[in-house]
């Protein structure tokens, strides 16, 4: 149960690091740490497959693309969490979260945590229902992905908006 509280606190700290709007490099770093810690939270509950999915798709897919796009936001003196504007945001959010924790959290009950047995077979059945009962949602999700691909191609079409440029 201690690990859950540690993971929760680290998740909140990493999202404070993202929300205080430093330079995009450091915000992506905070988001990576938050996603890693979130995977730890999911594993503590036995959702190991969803944790792997989060790691693969979120960290390995989406954040890699974000890291490549951060090259467009390159600036000579990126403002990390030590600069004055960002640090004031960090302190403000930290005080807000601490005060809200003191006021609101009154139950540290551990519900349905699996201790000692991480691999649990019955957790896998739920995700595979996407192919059985959720077949139509699978079709919709695939269609949305195809349409998103075409929309991205259309948004960056043309000589003035494409991503290939003569440097």
């Amino acid at each position: 149960m201690v690990m859950m509280i540690v993971f929760s606190v680290m998740f909140l700290i990493s999202l404070i690091a993202v929300a205080s709007n430093p330079s995009p490099y450091f915000a992506a770093l905070g988001l990576m740490i938050g996603a890693g810690v979130g995977c730890g939270m999911l594993t503590q509950f036995g959702m190991t497959f969803l944790s792997m999915i989060l790691f693969l798709i979120y960290l390995g897919g989406m954040l890699v693309v974000f890291a490549y796009s951060a090259a467009l936001a390159a600036e000579p003196y990126p403002s990390a969490w030590g600069s004055l504007e960002v640090f004031s945001y960090v302190v403000g959010y930290l005080m807000l979260v601490v005060v809200m924790w003191m006021l609101l959290v009154n139950d540290f009950g551990a519900f349905d945590e699996i201790e000692g047995c991480v691999m649990s077979v019955r957790r896998y059945v739920g995700v595979s229902e996407m192919y059985n009962a959720g077949g139509y949602m699978l079709l919709v999700a695939g269609w949305v992905l195809l349409v998103a691909l075409l929309v991205v191609l259309e948004l960056t079409r043309g000589f003035g908006r494409g991503c290939l440029r003569a440097v």
């Binding site: 998740f11 959702m47 969803l50 989060l54 979120y58 959290v105 519900f111 494409g162 991503c163």
Partner: protein, 98 residues
């Protein structure tokens, strides 16, 4: 309120305030949006575990698929902005400013 519910809701609110009080870069606003999606993913996964209904475990997967589409669209807008306005600074997007 349990500490897990507090964590998930506060994480969502933090991402939302980071998106609202954006500073210079469009990309940091998109990263706050991704933080909100991350908190929603964890919330959906824990909700299906807590209610012991394993059928709902597919909903975080579908949320992640749609969130990936949204991130791709946001990044293509960022690229288009960087081509037309020179950078992704939000103060340059003042076409509607009188």
């Amino acid at each position: 309120m349990t500490h897990i519910l507090f964590t998930i809701s506060t994480a969502f609110m933090l991402g939302l305030t980071g998106l609202t009080f954006h500073r210079t870069h469009l990309l940091s606003a998109l990263l706050c949006l991704e933080g909100m999606m991350l908190s929603l993913f964890i919330a959906l996964a824990m909700w299906s575990t807590q209610n012991d209904m394993m059928i709902f475990s597919s909903s975080p997967l579908l949320l992640l698929a749609l969130s990936a589409c949204e991130a791709g669209l946001g990044l293509s807008l960022l690229v288009a902005t960087s081509r037309t306005h020179g950078s992704d600074h939000l103060q340059n997007l003042n076409l509607l400013q009188c």
